[in-house]
Symmetry: C2
Subunit: 218 residues, 2 copies
DNA sequence: CGGCATCCACAGTGATACTG
DNA sequence: CAGTATCACTGTGGATGCCG
Protein backbone atom coordinates (compact mmCIF):
# COMPACT_ATOMS: atom_id res chain seq x y z
CA UNK A 1 0.00 0.00 0.00
CA UNK A 2 1.03 3.54 -0.67
CA UNK A 3 2.00 5.38 2.51
CA UNK A 4 -0.20 8.30 3.41
CA UNK A 5 2.89 10.33 4.26
CA UNK A 6 1.22 12.04 7.21
CA UNK A 7 3.00 12.74 10.47
CA UNK A 8 0.06 11.37 12.44
CA UNK A 9 -0.35 8.26 14.54
CA UNK A 10 -3.51 7.03 12.86
CA UNK A 11 -2.00 7.43 9.40
CA UNK A 12 1.14 5.56 10.48
CA UNK A 13 -0.99 2.74 11.88
CA UNK A 14 -2.93 2.49 8.65
CA UNK A 15 0.32 2.46 6.70
CA UNK A 16 1.04 -0.85 8.42
CA UNK A 17 -2.37 -2.48 8.98
CA UNK A 18 -4.67 -0.44 6.74
CA UNK A 19 -4.60 -2.74 3.74
CA UNK A 20 -7.60 -4.81 2.88
CA UNK A 21 -7.63 -8.08 4.90
CA UNK A 22 -4.71 -7.07 7.13
CA UNK A 23 -6.69 -6.45 10.32
CA UNK A 24 -8.76 -9.57 9.74
CA UNK A 25 -5.59 -11.64 9.47
CA UNK A 26 -4.49 -10.15 12.77
CA UNK A 27 -7.90 -10.93 14.30
CA UNK A 28 -7.42 -14.51 13.21
CA UNK A 29 -3.99 -14.75 14.79
CA UNK A 30 -5.23 -13.11 17.98
CA UNK A 31 -7.80 -15.87 18.24
CA UNK A 32 -5.75 -18.93 17.49
CA UNK A 33 -2.31 -17.84 18.70
CA UNK A 34 -0.50 -19.83 16.00
CA UNK A 35 -1.92 -20.81 12.64
CA UNK A 36 -0.87 -22.53 9.48
CA UNK A 37 -1.48 -20.97 6.12
CA UNK A 38 -4.47 -23.18 5.49
CA UNK A 39 -5.92 -22.45 8.94
CA UNK A 40 -5.84 -18.79 8.03
CA UNK A 41 -7.57 -19.51 4.74
CA UNK A 42 -10.36 -21.35 6.57
CA UNK A 43 -10.71 -18.50 9.04
CA UNK A 44 -10.80 -15.85 6.32
CA UNK A 45 -13.45 -16.98 3.86
CA UNK A 46 -13.26 -15.02 0.65
CA UNK A 47 -9.58 -14.13 0.70
CA UNK A 48 -7.62 -14.94 -2.44
CA UNK A 49 -4.62 -17.12 -1.83
CA UNK A 50 -2.18 -14.74 -3.47
CA UNK A 51 -3.45 -11.92 -1.27
CA UNK A 52 -3.01 -13.96 1.88
CA UNK A 53 0.58 -14.71 0.91
CA UNK A 54 1.25 -11.06 0.07
CA UNK A 55 -0.33 -9.72 3.25
CA UNK A 56 1.56 -12.16 5.44
CA UNK A 57 4.80 -10.98 3.88
CA UNK A 58 3.87 -7.33 4.37
CA UNK A 59 2.78 -7.86 7.97
CA UNK A 60 6.02 -9.71 8.60
CA UNK A 61 7.95 -6.77 7.18
CA UNK A 62 5.87 -4.47 9.37
CA UNK A 63 6.90 -6.37 12.50
CA UNK A 64 3.38 -7.53 13.27
CA UNK A 65 3.57 -11.18 12.25
CA UNK A 66 6.38 -13.68 12.61
CA UNK A 67 6.91 -16.96 10.81
CA UNK A 68 8.08 -20.04 12.72
CA UNK A 69 9.02 -23.55 11.73
CA UNK A 70 6.89 -25.72 13.98
CA UNK A 71 8.32 -28.97 15.35
CA UNK A 72 7.33 -32.38 13.88
CA UNK A 73 3.81 -32.86 15.28
CA UNK A 74 2.83 -30.15 12.79
CA UNK A 75 5.96 -30.13 10.72
CA UNK A 76 5.27 -26.99 8.74
CA UNK A 77 5.54 -23.25 9.13
CA UNK A 78 3.13 -21.47 11.43
CA UNK A 79 2.35 -17.79 11.74
CA UNK A 80 2.19 -15.93 15.02
CA UNK A 81 1.71 -12.37 16.15
CA UNK A 82 4.73 -10.57 17.53
CA UNK A 83 4.38 -8.52 20.72
CA UNK A 84 3.68 -5.51 18.53
CA UNK A 85 0.97 -7.46 16.79
CA UNK A 86 -0.67 -8.51 20.04
CA UNK A 87 -0.63 -4.86 21.07
CA UNK A 88 -3.25 -4.23 18.39
CA UNK A 89 -5.86 -6.08 20.42
CA UNK A 90 -7.36 -2.98 22.09
CA UNK A 91 -7.78 -1.26 18.74
CA UNK A 92 -9.39 -4.33 17.20
CA UNK A 93 -11.73 -4.73 20.16
CA UNK A 94 -12.69 -1.07 19.94
CA UNK A 95 -13.57 -1.43 16.27
CA UNK A 96 -15.51 -4.60 16.96
CA UNK A 97 -17.40 -2.96 19.81
CA UNK A 98 -18.28 -0.04 17.58
CA UNK A 99 -19.74 -2.41 15.00
CA UNK A 100 -21.77 -4.43 17.50
CA UNK A 101 -25.03 -2.70 16.42
CA UNK A 102 -24.28 -3.75 12.84
CA UNK A 103 -24.43 -7.42 13.77
CA UNK A 104 -28.16 -7.34 13.20
CA UNK A 105 -30.91 -9.71 14.00
CA UNK A 106 -30.63 -12.31 11.32
CA UNK A 107 -27.52 -13.49 9.56
CA UNK A 108 -27.97 -12.49 5.93
CA UNK A 109 -25.82 -14.94 4.02
CA UNK A 110 -22.74 -14.01 6.02
CA UNK A 111 -20.06 -16.55 6.65
CA UNK A 112 -19.80 -17.65 10.28
CA UNK A 113 -16.88 -19.16 12.15
CA UNK A 114 -17.49 -20.19 15.71
CA UNK A 115 -14.12 -19.00 16.94
CA UNK A 116 -14.86 -15.41 15.87
CA UNK A 117 -17.13 -15.19 18.88
CA UNK A 118 -14.30 -15.89 21.31
CA UNK A 119 -12.74 -12.43 21.09
CA UNK A 120 -15.80 -10.38 22.08
CA UNK A 121 -16.88 -12.99 24.65
CA UNK A 122 -13.64 -13.07 26.57
CA UNK A 123 -13.26 -9.31 26.53
CA UNK A 124 -16.80 -8.33 27.48
CA UNK A 125 -17.73 -11.07 29.94
CA UNK A 126 -16.49 -11.75 33.44
CA UNK A 127 -16.87 -14.56 35.91
CA UNK A 128 -18.89 -13.39 38.91
CA UNK A 129 -18.00 -16.40 41.03
CA UNK A 130 -14.20 -16.55 40.98
CA UNK A 131 -13.98 -18.92 43.91
CA UNK A 132 -16.14 -21.62 42.36
CA UNK A 133 -14.67 -24.49 40.42
CA UNK A 134 -14.32 -23.83 36.68
CA UNK A 135 -17.37 -24.11 34.44
CA UNK A 136 -17.30 -24.78 30.72
CA UNK A 137 -19.76 -23.96 28.01
CA UNK A 138 -19.54 -25.51 24.57
CA UNK A 139 -20.82 -23.38 21.72
CA UNK A 140 -21.85 -24.76 18.34
CA UNK A 141 -22.58 -22.32 15.56
CA UNK A 142 -21.67 -21.82 11.95
CA UNK A 143 -18.93 -24.21 10.98
CA UNK A 144 -17.80 -25.64 14.30
CA UNK A 145 -17.55 -25.09 18.00
CA UNK A 146 -15.63 -23.31 20.70
CA UNK A 147 -15.30 -23.91 24.39
CA UNK A 148 -15.66 -21.17 26.96
CA UNK A 149 -13.90 -21.67 30.25
CA UNK A 150 -15.25 -19.65 33.16
CA UNK A 151 -12.81 -19.68 36.03
CA UNK A 152 -10.88 -17.47 38.45
CA UNK A 153 -12.90 -14.41 37.58
CA UNK A 154 -12.23 -14.45 33.88
CA UNK A 155 -13.68 -16.01 30.76
CA UNK A 156 -11.53 -17.64 28.11
CA UNK A 157 -12.68 -18.86 24.74
CA UNK A 158 -10.80 -21.57 22.90
CA UNK A 159 -11.43 -22.90 19.45
CA UNK A 160 -11.33 -26.61 18.95
CA UNK A 161 -9.73 -27.22 15.55
CA UNK A 162 -6.23 -28.13 16.65
CA UNK A 163 -5.34 -26.02 19.67
CA UNK A 164 -6.77 -28.70 21.89
CA UNK A 165 -5.23 -31.97 22.93
CA UNK A 166 -7.97 -32.04 25.54
CA UNK A 167 -11.45 -31.87 24.01
CA UNK A 168 -12.76 -30.67 27.39
CA UNK A 169 -14.96 -33.62 27.97
CA UNK A 170 -18.29 -33.10 29.63
CA UNK A 171 -19.08 -29.39 29.38
CA UNK A 172 -21.59 -27.99 31.86
CA UNK A 173 -23.70 -26.52 29.09
CA UNK A 174 -23.94 -26.95 25.34
CA UNK A 175 -25.38 -24.11 23.28
CA UNK A 176 -26.15 -24.33 19.61
CA UNK A 177 -27.96 -22.03 17.23
CA UNK A 178 -27.56 -18.84 15.26
CA UNK A 179 -24.62 -16.71 16.39
CA UNK A 180 -26.67 -13.63 17.26
CA UNK A 181 -28.85 -15.72 19.58
CA UNK A 182 -25.83 -17.12 21.36
CA UNK A 183 -24.25 -13.68 21.69
CA UNK A 184 -27.54 -12.19 22.84
CA UNK A 185 -27.94 -14.83 25.50
CA UNK A 186 -24.37 -14.66 26.79
CA UNK A 187 -24.27 -10.88 26.76
CA UNK A 188 -27.52 -10.94 28.78
CA UNK A 189 -29.47 -9.01 26.21
CA UNK A 190 -31.71 -12.01 25.62
CA UNK A 191 -33.34 -14.21 28.23
CA UNK A 192 -32.94 -17.95 27.94
CA UNK A 193 -36.62 -18.30 27.19
CA UNK A 194 -36.54 -15.71 24.43
CA UNK A 195 -33.46 -17.24 22.86
CA UNK A 196 -35.00 -20.71 22.98
CA UNK A 197 -38.19 -19.39 21.43
CA UNK A 198 -36.15 -18.18 18.51
CA UNK A 199 -34.45 -21.46 17.92
CA UNK A 200 -31.53 -21.69 20.32
CA UNK A 201 -30.82 -25.06 21.86
CA UNK A 202 -29.37 -25.20 25.38
CA UNK A 203 -28.68 -28.56 26.97
CA UNK A 204 -27.12 -29.09 30.37
CA UNK A 205 -26.88 -26.99 33.46
CA UNK A 206 -28.26 -23.61 32.46
CA UNK A 207 -27.44 -22.23 35.90
CA UNK A 208 -23.86 -21.59 34.78
CA UNK A 209 -25.22 -18.68 32.76
CA UNK A 210 -25.82 -16.87 36.04
CA UNK A 211 -22.09 -16.91 36.58
CA UNK A 212 -21.57 -14.54 33.67
CA UNK A 213 -21.85 -10.76 33.71
CA UNK A 214 -21.00 -8.03 31.25
CA UNK A 215 -17.79 -6.29 32.19
CA UNK A 216 -18.64 -2.99 33.89
CA UNK A 217 -16.56 -0.17 32.45
CA UNK A 218 -14.56 -1.79 29.60
CA UNK B 1 -15.70 -1.50 -1.10
CA UNK B 2 -16.68 -5.11 -1.32
CA UNK B 3 -18.15 -6.39 1.91
CA UNK B 4 -16.15 -9.10 3.61
CA UNK B 5 -19.36 -10.98 4.30
CA UNK B 6 -18.19 -12.16 7.72
CA UNK B 7 -20.48 -12.34 10.73
CA UNK B 8 -17.86 -10.62 12.88
CA UNK B 9 -17.76 -7.19 14.47
CA UNK B 10 -14.37 -6.22 13.13
CA UNK B 11 -15.32 -7.20 9.60
CA UNK B 12 -18.55 -5.22 9.83
CA UNK B 13 -16.65 -2.18 11.05
CA UNK B 14 -14.22 -2.46 8.17
CA UNK B 15 -17.12 -2.80 5.76
CA UNK B 16 -18.05 0.76 6.76
CA UNK B 17 -14.75 2.49 7.57
CA UNK B 18 -12.16 0.14 6.12
CA UNK B 19 -11.71 1.90 2.80
CA UNK B 20 -8.57 3.84 2.09
CA UNK B 21 -8.81 7.39 3.50
CA UNK B 22 -12.07 6.73 5.38
CA UNK B 23 -10.64 6.69 8.88
CA UNK B 24 -8.46 9.70 8.12
CA UNK B 25 -11.52 11.66 7.01
CA UNK B 26 -13.15 10.73 10.31
CA UNK B 27 -10.02 11.79 12.20
CA UNK B 28 -10.25 15.14 10.47
CA UNK B 29 -13.89 15.59 11.42
CA UNK B 30 -13.21 14.52 15.00
CA UNK B 31 -10.66 17.31 15.21
CA UNK B 32 -12.53 20.18 13.64
CA UNK B 33 -16.15 19.27 14.43
CA UNK B 34 -17.45 20.77 11.19
CA UNK B 35 -15.51 21.19 7.98
CA UNK B 36 -16.04 22.35 4.45
CA UNK B 37 -14.91 20.24 1.54
CA UNK B 38 -11.84 22.38 1.03
CA UNK B 39 -10.98 22.23 4.75
CA UNK B 40 -10.95 18.48 4.45
CA UNK B 41 -8.70 18.67 1.40
CA UNK B 42 -6.21 20.81 3.33
CA UNK B 43 -6.30 18.43 6.27
CA UNK B 44 -5.82 15.36 4.07
CA UNK B 45 -2.79 16.10 1.92
CA UNK B 46 -2.51 13.64 -0.93
CA UNK B 47 -6.16 12.71 -1.31
CA UNK B 48 -7.59 12.97 -4.80
CA UNK B 49 -10.63 15.16 -5.04
CA UNK B 50 -12.80 12.49 -6.63
CA UNK B 51 -11.90 10.10 -3.82
CA UNK B 52 -12.82 12.62 -1.16
CA UNK B 53 -16.19 13.14 -2.81
CA UNK B 54 -16.77 9.39 -3.12
CA UNK B 55 -15.74 8.65 0.46
CA UNK B 56 -17.93 11.39 1.87
CA UNK B 57 -20.89 9.94 0.02
CA UNK B 58 -20.10 6.42 1.28
CA UNK B 59 -19.60 7.57 4.86
CA UNK B 60 -22.87 9.46 4.65
CA UNK B 61 -24.58 6.30 3.46
CA UNK B 62 -22.90 4.42 6.31
CA UNK B 63 -24.40 6.80 8.87
CA UNK B 64 -21.02 8.11 9.99
CA UNK B 65 -20.99 11.54 8.36
CA UNK B 66 -23.79 14.05 7.82
CA UNK B 67 -23.98 16.95 5.44
CA UNK B 68 -25.41 20.28 6.59
CA UNK B 69 -26.12 23.58 4.91
CA UNK B 70 -24.37 26.12 7.07
CA UNK B 71 -25.95 29.53 7.66
CA UNK B 72 -24.69 32.66 5.82
CA UNK B 73 -21.42 33.40 7.67
CA UNK B 74 -20.10 30.35 5.83
CA UNK B 75 -22.89 29.91 3.34
CA UNK B 76 -21.92 26.52 2.01
CA UNK B 77 -22.27 22.88 2.96
CA UNK B 78 -20.30 21.58 5.89
CA UNK B 79 -19.61 18.01 6.95
CA UNK B 80 -20.01 16.72 10.48
CA UNK B 81 -19.76 13.40 12.25
CA UNK B 82 -22.98 11.81 13.42
CA UNK B 83 -23.17 10.33 16.91
CA UNK B 84 -22.19 7.00 15.38
CA UNK B 85 -19.20 8.68 13.80
CA UNK B 86 -18.08 10.27 17.05
CA UNK B 87 -18.34 6.85 18.66
CA UNK B 88 -15.35 5.81 16.56
CA UNK B 89 -13.06 8.00 18.65
CA UNK B 90 -11.89 5.24 21.03
CA UNK B 91 -10.97 3.00 18.13
CA UNK B 92 -9.09 5.78 16.37
CA UNK B 93 -7.24 6.71 19.55
CA UNK B 94 -6.31 3.08 20.09
CA UNK B 95 -4.86 2.83 16.61
CA UNK B 96 -3.01 6.10 17.06
CA UNK B 97 -1.61 4.99 20.39
CA UNK B 98 -0.42 1.74 18.85
CA UNK B 99 1.46 3.66 16.19
CA UNK B 100 3.11 6.09 18.60
CA UNK B 101 6.46 4.24 18.35
CA UNK B 102 6.30 4.68 14.58
CA UNK B 103 6.35 8.46 14.87
CA UNK B 104 10.12 8.29 14.90
CA UNK B 105 12.78 10.78 15.73
CA UNK B 106 12.94 12.90 12.64
CA UNK B 107 10.15 13.70 10.25
CA UNK B 108 11.15 12.18 6.94
CA UNK B 109 9.37 14.23 4.33
CA UNK B 110 6.01 13.62 5.96
CA UNK B 111 3.29 16.21 5.73
CA UNK B 112 2.48 17.89 9.04
CA UNK B 113 -0.68 19.65 10.15
CA UNK B 114 -0.63 21.26 13.55
CA UNK B 115 -4.16 20.24 14.41
CA UNK B 116 -3.31 16.54 14.08
CA UNK B 117 -1.55 16.86 17.42
CA UNK B 118 -4.72 17.91 19.21
CA UNK B 119 -6.27 14.44 19.32
CA UNK B 120 -3.43 12.63 21.10
CA UNK B 121 -2.73 15.62 23.34
CA UNK B 122 -6.23 15.97 24.69
CA UNK B 123 -6.64 12.25 25.20
CA UNK B 124 -3.31 11.48 26.86
CA UNK B 125 -2.73 14.61 28.95
CA UNK B 126 -4.52 15.84 32.06
CA UNK B 127 -4.49 19.03 34.06
CA UNK B 128 -2.98 18.38 37.48
CA UNK B 129 -4.18 21.70 38.93
CA UNK B 130 -7.91 21.76 38.25
CA UNK B 131 -8.57 24.58 40.68
CA UNK B 132 -6.16 27.04 39.06
CA UNK B 133 -7.30 29.52 36.48
CA UNK B 134 -7.03 28.25 32.88
CA UNK B 135 -3.68 28.20 31.13
CA UNK B 136 -3.15 28.24 27.39
CA UNK B 137 -0.27 27.02 25.25
CA UNK B 138 0.06 27.98 21.62
CA UNK B 139 1.76 25.42 19.40
CA UNK B 140 3.32 26.25 16.04
CA UNK B 141 4.45 23.39 13.84
CA UNK B 142 4.12 22.30 10.27
CA UNK B 143 1.59 24.46 8.51
CA UNK B 144 -0.03 26.40 11.30
CA UNK B 145 -0.86 26.47 14.96
CA UNK B 146 -3.22 25.14 17.58
CA UNK B 147 -4.12 26.32 21.04
CA UNK B 148 -4.21 24.04 24.05
CA UNK B 149 -6.46 25.04 26.90
CA UNK B 150 -5.61 23.56 30.27
CA UNK B 151 -8.47 24.02 32.69
CA UNK B 152 -10.78 22.20 35.09
CA UNK B 153 -8.68 19.07 35.08
CA UNK B 154 -8.75 18.49 31.35
CA UNK B 155 -6.82 19.56 28.29
CA UNK B 156 -8.51 20.70 25.12
CA UNK B 157 -6.84 21.36 21.80
CA UNK B 158 -8.37 23.69 19.27
CA UNK B 159 -7.18 24.41 15.77
CA UNK B 160 -7.13 28.00 14.65
CA UNK B 161 -8.15 28.03 10.97
CA UNK B 162 -11.77 29.07 11.34
CA UNK B 163 -13.19 27.47 14.47
CA UNK B 164 -12.09 30.49 16.44
CA UNK B 165 -13.64 33.90 16.57
CA UNK B 166 -11.42 34.41 19.60
CA UNK B 167 -7.73 34.04 18.74
CA UNK B 168 -7.01 33.45 22.44
CA UNK B 169 -4.87 36.48 22.84
CA UNK B 170 -1.87 36.31 25.09
CA UNK B 171 -1.10 32.61 25.60
CA UNK B 172 0.95 31.66 28.63
CA UNK B 173 3.47 29.80 26.52
CA UNK B 174 4.29 29.59 22.82
CA UNK B 175 6.01 26.48 21.51
CA UNK B 176 7.35 26.08 18.01
CA UNK B 177 9.50 23.47 16.36
CA UNK B 178 9.37 19.98 14.90
CA UNK B 179 6.26 18.01 15.91
CA UNK B 180 8.12 15.17 17.58
CA UNK B 181 9.93 17.64 19.82
CA UNK B 182 6.67 19.27 20.87
CA UNK B 183 5.03 15.90 21.51
CA UNK B 184 8.09 14.68 23.38
CA UNK B 185 8.08 17.74 25.61
CA UNK B 186 4.35 17.72 26.33
CA UNK B 187 4.20 13.98 26.90
CA UNK B 188 7.10 14.43 29.37
CA UNK B 189 9.40 12.11 27.49
CA UNK B 190 11.76 15.00 26.78
CA UNK B 191 12.99 17.64 29.22
CA UNK B 192 12.68 21.26 28.25
CA UNK B 193 16.46 21.53 28.04
CA UNK B 194 16.78 18.53 25.76
CA UNK B 195 13.99 19.74 23.51
CA UNK B 196 15.53 23.19 23.27
CA UNK B 197 18.91 21.68 22.49
CA UNK B 198 17.34 19.96 19.52
CA UNK B 199 15.78 23.10 18.16
CA UNK B 200 12.54 23.68 20.00
CA UNK B 201 11.62 27.25 20.82
CA UNK B 202 9.65 27.95 24.00
CA UNK B 203 8.75 31.50 24.88
CA UNK B 204 6.67 32.58 27.85
CA UNK B 205 5.92 31.02 31.17
CA UNK B 206 7.40 27.54 30.97
CA UNK B 207 6.04 26.71 34.43
CA UNK B 208 2.66 25.87 32.89
CA UNK B 209 4.30 22.68 31.61
CA UNK B 210 4.34 21.43 35.21
CA UNK B 211 0.58 21.54 35.15
CA UNK B 212 0.49 18.70 32.62
CA UNK B 213 0.74 14.99 33.31
CA UNK B 214 0.25 11.88 31.24
CA UNK B 215 -3.10 10.27 31.94
CA UNK B 216 -2.58 7.31 34.28
CA UNK B 217 -4.45 4.26 33.05
CA UNK B 218 -5.87 5.32 29.64
C1' DC C 1 -1.73 -32.24 1.42
C1' DG C 2 0.33 -27.30 2.57
C1' DG C 3 2.27 -23.08 0.74
C1' DC C 4 2.47 -20.57 -2.28
C1' DA C 5 3.30 -18.27 -7.72
C1' DT C 6 1.12 -17.05 -12.09
C1' DC C 7 -2.33 -15.31 -14.98
C1' DC C 8 -6.25 -12.57 -16.05
C1' DA C 9 -10.61 -9.68 -15.81
C1' DC C 10 -12.01 -6.00 -13.35
C1' DA C 11 -12.71 -2.70 -9.60
C1' DG C 12 -10.42 0.85 -6.94
C1' DT C 13 -6.96 4.65 -6.91
C1' DG C 14 -4.43 8.95 -8.06
C1' DA C 15 -3.25 12.96 -10.96
C1' DT C 16 -4.98 16.38 -13.74
C1' DA C 17 -8.42 18.98 -16.06
C1' DC C 18 -12.70 20.90 -16.20
C1' DT C 19 -17.56 22.78 -14.64
C1' DG C 20 -21.82 25.02 -12.32
C1' DC D 1 -16.25 26.27 -3.54
C1' DA D 2 -17.63 21.75 -4.37
C1' DG D 3 -17.40 18.81 -6.81
C1' DT D 4 -17.59 15.75 -11.88
C1' DA D 5 -14.91 13.73 -15.96
C1' DT D 6 -11.27 11.40 -17.84
C1' DC D 7 -7.63 8.18 -17.97
C1' DA D 8 -3.34 5.63 -16.75
C1' DC D 9 -2.22 2.79 -13.26
C1' DT D 10 -2.42 -0.41 -9.30
C1' DG D 11 -4.73 -3.58 -6.28
C1' DT D 12 -8.18 -7.35 -5.83
C1' DG D 13 -10.56 -11.71 -6.53
C1' DG D 14 -11.01 -16.05 -8.88
C1' DA D 15 -8.91 -19.88 -11.10
C1' DT D 16 -5.35 -22.81 -11.77
C1' DG D 17 -0.75 -24.78 -11.64
C1' DC D 18 3.55 -26.02 -9.40
C1' DC D 19 6.60 -28.03 -6.12
C1' DG D 20 8.32 -30.36 -1.87
Amino acid sequence: MRSYGHYCGLAKALDVVGDRWSLLIIRELLLVDAARYSDLQRGLPGIATNLLATRLRELEAGGVVARHDAPPPIGTTVFRLTARGKALEPAILALGAWAAPLLGECTERDEVRAHWLALPLQSYLIDTQPTHRPSTIEIHTGDGSITMEIANGVVRGRSMPWTGTDPVSDPDLVLSGAPHLIMGLLMRRLSLGAARARGLSARGNTHVLKRLAVRPST
